[in-house]
């Protein structure tokens, strides 16, 4: 299995209910999951505490 880059995280789009993969280093959304549930081996991004 390909090793995930450290800067790749995922978060759920509340509009679609599907997860999106984000490359934080590149500052872009890189993939939209078409099925339900999170991507495997990709950390879910947590919101910063205020």
């Amino acid at each position: 299995m390909a090793k995930q880059k450290k800067d790749i995280v995922q978060t759920k789009n509340p509009r679609t209910g599907k997860y999106v993969k984000i490359d934080r280093a590149a500052g872009k959304i890189v993939a939209h999951k078409s099925t339900s549930g999170p991507y495997k081996n990709v950390p879910v991004a947590r919101k910063r505490s205020k």
Binding site: V9, T11, N13, P14, R15, I22, R24, A25, A26, G27, K28, I29, A45, K47, R48
Partner: protein, 211 residues
């Protein structure tokens, strides 16, 4: 975001007068307005008002200038657009309504179609959320708006995750501000602007921060 004026095709470098917590209603405005549209609009107003959201339409503002430019400016200034579709609306008006929904979706606005059971929407809009005007309409509309009100937190989160791309982060924060009216999103956007450096007052970067 770079906006091209649909009237002349040139990039628009004028600031937008934003209207947070408003909803742009797209439907037949000219007489005769079908009775069902009046009823739907009354229901929408009664659901939006307690949430502090003001419904507006193309007739809410008189500029004495180009009508398309006026609508275009209004659509850019709001967070939310609701289209009302009934079978009585003539095809030319329907075409205008779907043109406007398309623009609003392209500009990252929250959109909803409210349709009467006998009316139909074009296939390009099958993924656009819609509610039928029938029993349970108000409950569904409230549910939609409740979901929309959760989006500023999501947009703020995306802005954080995309901070290496400041323009995108600023745009998400602007969307969060328009839905919520919360000025703290602007403060946060100003932080992201530091990553961009000095720009002209009418640069795309500066115009994005004019909320």
């Amino acid at each position: 975001m770079i906006y091209y004026n649909p009237a002349d095709g040139d990039a628009d470098n004028n600031p937008v007068k934003y209207r947070p917590k408003t909803c742009f209603i797209m439907t037949r405005l000219g007489h005769p307005v079908p009775k069902v549209i009046k009823e739907i609009r009354k229901d929408i107003k009664e659901v939006l008002t307690p949430l502090g959201i003001k419904p507006i339409d193309a007739n809410s503002l008189v500029t004495g200038k180009d009508f398309l430019k006026k609508i275009w400016n209004m659509m850019r200034s709001v967070p939310l657009g609701i289209a009302i579709i009934t079978e009585e609306i003539p095809p030319t008006t329907l075409a205008n309504i779907f043109y406007e929904i398309g623009l609003m979706q392209a500009y990252g606005k929250e959109t909803l179609v409210i349709k009467t059971p006998k009316s139909s929407v074009p296939s390009d809009f099958v993924r656009t959320e819609y509610i039928e005007y029938k029993s349970g309409f108000r409950t569904q509309l409230k549910r939609f708006l409740k979901e929309v009100q959760k989006r500023p937190a999501h947009y703020e989160h995306l802005a954080e995750l995309l901070e290496r791309n400041p323009l995108l982060s600023i745009d998400y924060l602007r969307r969060a501000y328009l839905i919520s009216g919360d000025k703290s999103y602007r403060k946060k956007a100003l932080e992201y602007k530091k990553g961009i450096g000095d720009r002209a007052k009418n640069s795309i970067e500066s115009l994005m921060l004019d909320f």
